[in-house]
Amino acid sequence: MAKVIVVTSGKGGVGKTTTSASFASGLALRGNKTVVIDFDVGLRNLDLIMGCERRVVFDIINVINGDAALSRALIKDKHCDNLYVLPASQTRDKDALSLEGVGRIIDELKETFDYIVCDSPAGIEHGAFSAMYFADEALVVTNPEVSSVRDSDRILGILAAKSKRAVDGQDPVKEHLLVTRYNPGRVAAGEMLSVEDIQEILRIPLLGVIPESESVLQASNSGTPAIHLDKSDVAEAYKDVVARFMGDGVPMRFITAEKMGLFKRLFGGR
């Protein structure tokens, strides 16, 4: 049975699209047929992060309006065989996302794919709502700062009250916490919330911690999902996240500050 996973946060700029791209790629690398949908209509970004922006012809709004068949709008990823991207429209606005139309697309995708990853826009308005409505599971992406945690709390409330599963009285959406841009050194210095602080407020199971890293920016600019960056801690962290999601017992990493050796301290810890 295909699973629909929404990547959401409430707050913007916390790493939803980066996570969607890497998480979907990770699922595909493990042999799952995966599609990732960009719900950020009007501010489409996923195609850039995935490096397929020059191949976008049709988008999700075209499919909803019946201008193009779903199969024509899907773009095959250049890094993984099992991964497809359904881009957002850049010229329309989010009101064009009808729930009925999104439901039809998701039902059709369920026939072919194992995992359907929905990259939610920021906010709690219609775009975010249509991204989460059909979800079976949710990755709640949170930065270690209070405003991000509060916005995630809001999103969790909406998931519990307004998602299709909640409205239909089915089992609730399964929630996963993903803390991104985590810097254990700054946590130790009291400048950032710790994973424990965040969990104390949100009280949902922790799926993983992605360390703060400059390589994420380089990956985004080059159109390569961060999970493909060989030997980087971000790629390792995302692979752990996917493994845990698939049920492997992988211990948490990147949550304690690395002790700096004398050499690193002398020459700068980069």
Binding site: I124, R150, D153, R154, L156, G157, I158, A160, A161, I201, R203
Partner: protein, 260 residues
């Protein structure tokens, strides 16, 4: 004389709607009606517009045990002269309520029982100490419960969410996060950290209380009186079991410790 268009028989001539209207309760603390009228007159002389022709309910709980029957007809006329309309009575013994009904007054169901009102009576009239059980025996009509069952919430109440327990108490067994709002017409109990807002006695019950196992609230309110914590909860009570109650017009916090 009716000047409008004649109605057809099947056009509705009225409709019945449930409304929760604000209502003053005038609690009689003595069965001595001469004294009652004297003091009421003195009070109205100070603040003639206090009631402003609003209907009031006459609270009889404090004189229920005395079981003296006030002259309701005389009292209604006395109050009407002073711009007050008695809409009905609350509480009282069975005989008192019957007498009030005979004089054409309405009977309000006594949801919270006499205990709460007499407990806050300024002058300890003898009856004030009577246990509620006795009261129920004396006034079976007054004991008819009209309150709703307690609303129990066992999932986190998250920022932006509101839980409203209408006409009753609210019990929350999971965390209440900052930006969440609890509202109850009765009491509120939170057996987890309370970090959002809690508003008890939302329909004006000044005896409502808030009980929190881990007090970290942004705002607490009893019967419309509220308290914010700009500088945080006092350290002696922060993250500790606390009860919140209304002391006059002040919302006060008290550590929740065994009474004895």
């Amino acid at each position: 004389m009716f000047l409008g268009k004649p109605m057809t028989p099947d056009t509705p001539a009225f409709k019945i709607k449930n409304a929760n209207l604000p209502l003053f309760v005038l609690h009689a603390l003595t069965a001595d009606m001469a004294q009652f009228k004297l003091q009421l007159d003195a009070h109205l002389a100070q603040a003639p517009d206090f009631f402003a022709a609003a209907p009031v309910a006459l609270g009889l709980a404090a004189i229920a045990e005395a079981d003296a029957i006030p002259d309701f007809t005389d009292l209604s006329a006395f109050m009407r002269q002073r711009g007050l309309a008695i809409a009905g009575v609350i509480g009282g013994s069975a005989r008192q309520r019957q007498a009030a009904a005979d004089c054409g007054l309405g009977l309000f169901p006594d949801a919270r029982g006499a205990r709460r009102h007499t407990a806050s009576a300024p002058e300890p009239v003898p009856v004030a100490e009577s246990p509620p059980a006795q009261e129920a025996v004396a006034a079976p009509a007054a004991a008819a419960p009209s309150r709703r069952p307690t609303l129990v919430v066992d999932k986190p109440v998250r920022t932006g969410q509101t839980v409203h327990a209408e006409g009753g108490d609210l019990v929350v067994l999971a965390i209440v996060n900052a930006g969440a709002e609890l509202i109850a017409d009765g009491d509120i109990h939170v057996y987890a950290p309370l970090r959002g807002r809690a508003l008890a006695g939302a329909r004006g019950d000044t005896s409502a209380r808030i009980f929190a196992q881990c007090m970290e609230a942004e705002l607490v309110s009893i019967a419309g009186y509220f308290q914010v914590f700009e500088d945080g909860i006092p350290a002696s009570m922060r993250s500790k079991p606390v009860q919140v109650l209304l002391d006059g017009e002040r919302v006060t916090l008290h550590p929740l410790a065994p009474m004895r």
